[in-house]
C-alpha cells in the first residue's frame, strides 16, 4: 500500500517503512541503542533525501528512547543528575550541529559530511568494540575473569577541576569531560541523524567509569532529550521533518524494540557487544565503499527553491 509523504514529496510503501521500523527497532531493543545509524542510511537507500532522513529519524529515536527510558526509570536504573549535566552541553552541541547542517547544505557538501562522519565514527567505534569484546570472549574461553578496570582507578580525566558527585552512579568526576561528551553527542546526533547511544554508552563507561547498572538508562534519557530538541530545531530551521514518515517509523520501532529487548536479555554481554561492534563496523565500511568507489552518476541535482 503506497502512502504519499508530504515533506519528502514522494510515495513510499507503508509496509516497507513499517518493516524497516520493526527491524531497526528489534536491533535497537536488543542492544539498548536508538538505531539511528541504521535507520538514516536505510531511508536514504529507499530514496528519501539525506536531509529529510536525518531530520525525521530524530523524532523516531525520540519515541523509542522515551519508551526505553520509562522502563529504566521504573527500575530506578538511570542517573537523572548525570543525564541533565550531559544535556546542558548536549543542547549546545545540537544547536551547533543543526547550524553546521544548514551551512553545509547550502555549500552542497552535506552528503559528503554525512558520509565522512559515518565512516570515521562507525569504523573507529565498531573496531574498538570488536577488539574489546573479542578479548573478553577469549578471556571467558580461558576461564579468566573479565578484567574490567576497577571503578576506582584514576585517569588524567580525574585530575581536572570542577568536580561533581553523582550519587545514583556513585561517581565523582570533573564537569569538563561530562560537558565535552554531552557536546559531542548532541553535535554528532544533529549532523548524522543518530541518537549517539552506541557512542555514548562506551564513552560513559570508559571515560567516566559510570557503572553498567545506570549507563543505558542515563544514555536513553540523554538521547531522548537531544533527539526531541533536534526534531524541534530541524523543523523550525530547515522545515524538513516529515511527520508522516516519522510516525510510521516510530510505530514499527517501538514494537520491534520490545521483542529485541527480550532477545538481548538472553544473550551474554560480550557476545552482544561483539555483534553490535560487527554491525557498526559493517555500516561504516558500507559508507566508506560509497565514498571511494566511483558513483554510477557523477552528476546530481539539488533544488534551490521554487518560483
Amino acid at each position: 500500500m503506497q502512502i504519499y509523504l508530504p515533506i519528502a514529496d514522494m510515495p513510499v510503501n507503508i509496509f516497507l517503512v513499517l518493516g524497516m521500523g520493526l527491524a531497526v527497532g528489534y536491533i535497537s531493543g536488543m542492544f539498548g541503542i536508538g538505531g539511528g545509524f541504521l535507520m538514516t542510511p536505510l531511508l536514504i537507500f529507499i530514496g528519501v533525501s539525506p536531509a529529510v532522513a536525518v531530520a525525521s529519524v530524530a523524532s523516531h529515536i525520540a519515541a523509542s528512547s522515551f519508551s526505553g527510558a520509562i522502563n529504566y526509570w521504573n527500575r530506578r536504573a538511570l542517573d537523572l543528575a548525570l543525564a541533565l549535566m550531559l544535556l546542558s552541553a548536549g543542547i549546545i552541541g545540537t544547536a551547533t550541529g543543526v547550524w553546521l547542517f544548514t551551512t553545509l547544505r547550502a555549500l552542497d557538501q552535506l552528503d559528503l559530511m554525512i558520509g565522512l562522519s559515518y565512516v570515521t565514527l562507525l569504523t573507529i567505534v565498531g573496531g574498538l568494540m570488536i577488539y574489546e569484546s573479542v578479548r573478553a570472549v577469549v578471556r571467558a574461553r580461558h576461564g579468566l575473569p573479565a578484567t574490567i578496570r576497577r571503578p576506582g582507578s584514576h585517569t588524567w580525566l580525574h585530575g581536572l577541576p570542577f568536580k561533581l558527585r553523582f550519587k545514583r552512579s556513585k561517581i565523582y568526576v570533573s564537569a569538563i569531560p561530562v560537558w565535552a561528551i554531552g557536546f559531542i553527542i548532541g553535535f554528532v546526533g544533529a549532523i548524522m541523524g543518530i541518537g549517539g547511544g552506541f557512542l555514548l554508552v562506551p564513552m560513559l563507561i570508559y571515560f567516566l567509569r559510570v557503572p553498567t547498572a545506570t549507563v543505558i538508562g542515563t544514555s536513553m534519557v540523554l538521547t531522548l532529550i537531544t533527539m526531541a530538541s533536534a526534531t524541534v530545531m530541524h523543523a523550525a530551521t530547515n522545515h524538513l521533518v516529515d511527520a508522516v514518515l516519522a510516525l510510521i517509523l516510530m510505530v514499527g520501532g517501538v514494537v520491534g524494540a520490545q521483542f529485541g529487548a527480550r532477545t538481548g536479555q538472553k544473550m551474554r554481554g560480550e557476545r552482544l557487544r561483539l555483534l553490535l561492534g560487527l554491525l557498526v563496523f559493517a555500516v561504516g565500511l558500507r559508507f566508506a565503499y560509497a565514498l571511494v568507489v566511483q558513483p554510477d552518476d557523477l552528476y546530481s541535482i539539488r533544488h534551490l527553491g521554487g518560483d
Binding site: 510515495p11 523524532s59 511527520a243
Partner: protein, 258 residues
C-alpha cells in the same frame, strides 16, 4: 499576469504572421486540477482536441502535426559534478539552472525533428534540445550550447526522474482532425501551476496555437501537513515531538511486562 499577457501577444503575433492560417484548435483536458492525496501514485491526464476550419476560410488540409508542451512551475536547481579528491568522491563543480521548468513534457505525433526545420524548432523552443534552460554564468543568465556537459547531465537526470520527457508518439490522431494525448504526471510531480501549449503544424509551418492550464496541489491531510511544516515550523516540530513521546509512552504501557 504579465507573462500570460506576453504569451497572448506572442500567440497573436504568431497567428497574425501567417495569413494562410485557416485552422482553429479546440482542446479540452480531462482534469484541470490534480489533487495529491495520501494515496497519490501519479496520474495520466488526457488532453482531447479538434482542428476546426475558421468560418468562411479554405477547407482543411489532409495532414497535420501536433506538438503539446507541458511546463511545470519554475524552479532554480543546481547540477553538481563529483570528482575524486584525495581518494574520495566530492562535489567539486556545479551550475545553477535558473527558473527552469520543474516539469517539462514534449508530446507529439511524430519525433519533433521530422515535423519542421531545426531553426523553427529552436525559435519556438520545441523539444528538450531546444527548450531554453538558462544557466547562471557569472552575472549573466544564458542557455549554453546543447552539448554542454552540465546541460546534458541535467536533462538526463530529469528524464530519469520522469520529470522531463519528450515522446514522439504520444499524440494520436483519432480522425484526421481529432486528436488525443496523455500527459504523464509522475508520483513526485511538483505542485503548482502548469501551462499547456498546443501547436499545430502543416507542412512544417505552424498554423495554429492554443493554451490551456492545469494545477497540481496537495489536498486534504497532505496539504495540511506541508503547510504546517512550512508556515509554523516551531509548532510543527513541537507537535511531532509530542507525537513521538506519546508513541513511546503508549508502547511502554502496552508492553509492560512486570
Amino acid at each position: 499576469m504579465r507573462r500570460i499577457a506576453l504569451t497572448l501577444v506572442i500567440v497573436m503575433l504568431a497567428c497574425g504572421a501567417k495569413p494562410a492560417a485557416a485552422e482553429r484548435l479546440v482542446v479540452s483536458l480531462s482534469n484541470h486540477r490534480v489533487a495529491i492525496t495520501s494515496s497519490f501514485v501519479g496520474e495520466d491526464l488526457v488532453l482531447f482536441g479538434t482542428i476546426e476550419p475558421d468560418a468562411g476560410k479554405t477547407a482543411l488540409r489532409s495532414a497535420y502535426d501536433l506538438v503539446v508542451t507541458v511546463t511545470g512551475p519554475r524552479q532554480t536547481l543546481r547540477t553538481r559534478r563529483k570528482q575524486r579528491v584525495l581518494g574520495i568522491w566530492v562535489n567539486v563543480d556545479s551550475r545553477e539552472f535558473v527558473r527552469v521548468p520543474s516539469y517539462l513534457a514534449i508530446l507529439s505525433n511524430r519525433p519533433v525533428a521530422q515535423i519542421t526545420q531545426q531553426d523553427t524548432l529552436r525559435r519556438l523552443q520545441i523539444g528538450l534540445d531546444n527548450f531554453l534552460l538558462p544557466q547562471r554564468i557569472g552575472p549573466d543568465l544564458a542557455d549554453t550550447v546543447r552539448d554542454d556537459p552540465f546541460r546534458l547531465a541535467f536533462v538526463r537526470l530529469e528524464i530519469q526522474q520522469a520529470l522531463y520527457s519528450e515522446i514522439g508518439s504520444a499524440v494520436t490522431f483519432l480522425t484526421p482532425t481529432v486528436f488525443r494525448t496523455a500527459i504523464p504526471l509522475p508520483a513526485d510531480v511538483p505542485t503548482g501551476n502548469y501551462t499547456i501549449d498546443v501547436k499545430l503544424f502543416a507542412d512544417g509551418v505552424m498554423v495554429a496555437r492554443t493554451n490551456s492550464a492545469l494545477e497540481v496541489t496537495k489536498a486534504g491531510f497532505e496539504q495540511y501537513v506541508a503547510d504546517a511544516a512550512r508556515d509554523h515550523g516551531l509548532l510543527y516540530g513541537l507537535a511531532t515531538m509530542l507525537m513521538a513521546l506519546l508513541t513511546g509512552w503508549i508502547a511502554s504501557v502496552v508492553f509492560k511486562r512486570d
